[in-house]
């Protein structure tokens, strides 16, 4: 109950845990994409409104809060495999995420 009065915590995203291991802090209300871009990470993107799918990435562990229905851009299989749109994802917990930064 007393958790109601605690300030929400910032979350962490571990990007590409099986290769370069970049850790990113994501403030509440910020999206994964904007946080990555603000940190100088060359995350691929085009529209930033959830319509092009360029910022698509795969969440390996943890959960995100989708700002929009990913179903318009991602297939049901992709969603089941953990793919999300970084530009429309806030973090519900710390996550590990895989993204091809060399696109």
């Amino acid at each position: 109950m007393f958790n109601l009065f605690n300030k929400p915590k910032d979350r962490q995203a571990l990007i590409n845990p099986h290769s370069e291991h970049t850790t990113l802090i994501i403030n509440k209300g910020n999206t994964l994409l904007n946080s990555a871009l603000n940190a100088g990470i060359d995350w691929p993107y085009k529209c930033k409104v959830g319509s092009c799918g360029t910022c698509k990435c795969k969440v390996l562990s943890g959960g995100v809060k989708a700002q929009i229905d990913f179903g318009y851009v991602l297939s049901p299989d992709e969603i089941n495999e953990g793919y999300v749109l970084a530009c429309q994802s806030e973090l519900k917990s710390d996550i590990e995420v895989e993204i091809n930064l060399n696109k």
């Binding site: 409104v49 959830g50 092009c52 929009i68 179903g71 318009y72 297939s75 049901p76």
Partner: protein
């Protein structure tokens, strides 16, 4: 400064309330929405050379107060409902033969019935301000939480709930390309564009739902279909107007929707007329026309800063700025008047498009522009 920056965006809320008040008062005040539109066109023309940048504090933060601006935008939903209710009451009085008497309520004179001429004024006023209210439907379409739903409801009041999905998933993705029905190619006039853009966006929204539901194994003809749900949101308006005015009510609603959707599509028309983008290339500032003189900026809650908006689609309107996008040099009201006379509009944009081809377009974009010129379409 903080108070001023936030209060200056209240022109439309204030004017909408004045318009509603005028319709309730009746008589010549039914025309007040039309008169305001004319006055604002004059102010916009006179202030065409005054341009301001987005103000920021010493830390680089905007003075805009998100909570305040969102409360205002949400309140506009019941305001626009009240606008339709005001017209519906007048329709009921007209069709039921209410006498034209001047009465007093709380010290304010109002007319108990309405003449046919003033009913036309009330209908035009409602259509114009419902149309101008679409700026809130647009802004909220970029909010991915409850604002998106409010956007759908605001647009549904004009029978255009499909806009919210089509704008985000189609217009922002395919801008400047033939796949975007909201981008007007060179040579098209605003009257044709309003039909093609409206129908094209609705079709896109339907196809979007169809593809999603097919992928999910759900029926297209079901309540999972947001395109269908969107049109169902418009049913209360239809019932209200038919109940209040019968056939005349239906005619009035068609009039209101025609005006409001024409204004919406005129904004789309002006925002990207004749601009070209090669499919697959990133959207840049050059793919939108800015209309950012001071009155247009404040009245249209910075929607005229299209160059910045299309590159930073997630940015709140009060943070949008001049980014060096191609600029018409006049505001939306003044330009809207020009678009109503297609030959005049094309004459006005001819030099602007030549400048765009020479100083903004890439080689690929010039190649497309040359195809238009080969067909004799210069603007």
């Amino acid at each position: 400064m903080r108070l001023f920056v936030n209060a200056r965006y209240l022109i439309v809320p204030f004017s909408s309330l004045v318009t509603i008040f005028g319709i309730f008062q009746g008589n010549v005040f039914s025309w007040i929405g039309v008169i305001l539109f004319g006055i604002y066109t004059l102010i916009d023309t006179v202030t065409k050379d005054i341009h301001l940048r987005a103000e920021k504090d010493t830390n680089g933060n905007s003075f805009g107060i998100k909570e305040f601006q969102y409360v205002v935008m949400y309140i506009m939903l019941p305001v626009f409902i009240l606008l339709q209710v005001a017209l519906a009451i007048r329709l009921y009085q007209f069709t039921s033969g209410s006498t034209l008497e001047e009465l007093i309520f709380l010290g304010i004179a109002y007319e108990s019935g309405i003449s046919f001429l003033n009913l036309i004024g009330a209908t035009l006023s409602t259509g114009l301000w419902a149309g101008l209210g679409i700026i809130y439907g647009h802004e909220l379409s970029h909010n991915k939480k409850e604002g998106f739903f409010v956007s759908r409801l605001i647009m549904a009041l004009s029978g255009a709930s499909h806009f919210t999905y089509a704008h985000v998933y189609n217009h922002h993705l395919d801008l400047g390309h033939e796949d975007d029905p909201a981008t007007a190619p060179r040579g098209r006039n605003v009257y044709l564009h309003s039909w093609l853009s409206h129908a094209g966006q609705s079709k896109y929204s339907y196809d979007l739902e169809k593809n999603k539901l097919t992928k999910q194994g759900k029926s297209v003809l079901s309540f999972h279909n947001k395109w269908i749900i969107g049109y169902l949101y418009s049913l209360p308006s239809i019932f209200l107007f038919i109940w209040s005015g019968g056939f005349l009510g239906l005619v009035a609603l068609i009039g209101v929707w025609s005006i409001s959707n024409f204004l919406l599509e005129a904004l789309n028309f002006m925002g990207h007329y004749g601009l070209i983008r090669k499919s697959g290339t990133p959207v840049g500032h050059r793919h939108s026309w800015d209309n950012d003189n001071v009155f247009t900026s404040w009245f249209f809650i910075e929607i005229g800063r299209q160059g910045d908006h299309h590159v930073r689609g997630e940015t709140y309107f009060w943070e949008l700025d001049d980014v060096g996008a191609p600029n018409y040099g006049i505001g939306y009201f003044s330009l809207f008047v020009l678009t109503l006379i297609p030959a005049l509009f094309r004459s006005y944009v001819k030099n602007l498009l030549e400048d765009w081809d020479s100083n903004h377009a890439t080689e690929d974009e010039v190649e497309v522009s040359n195809k238009f010129k080969a067909l004799g379409i210069l603007s």
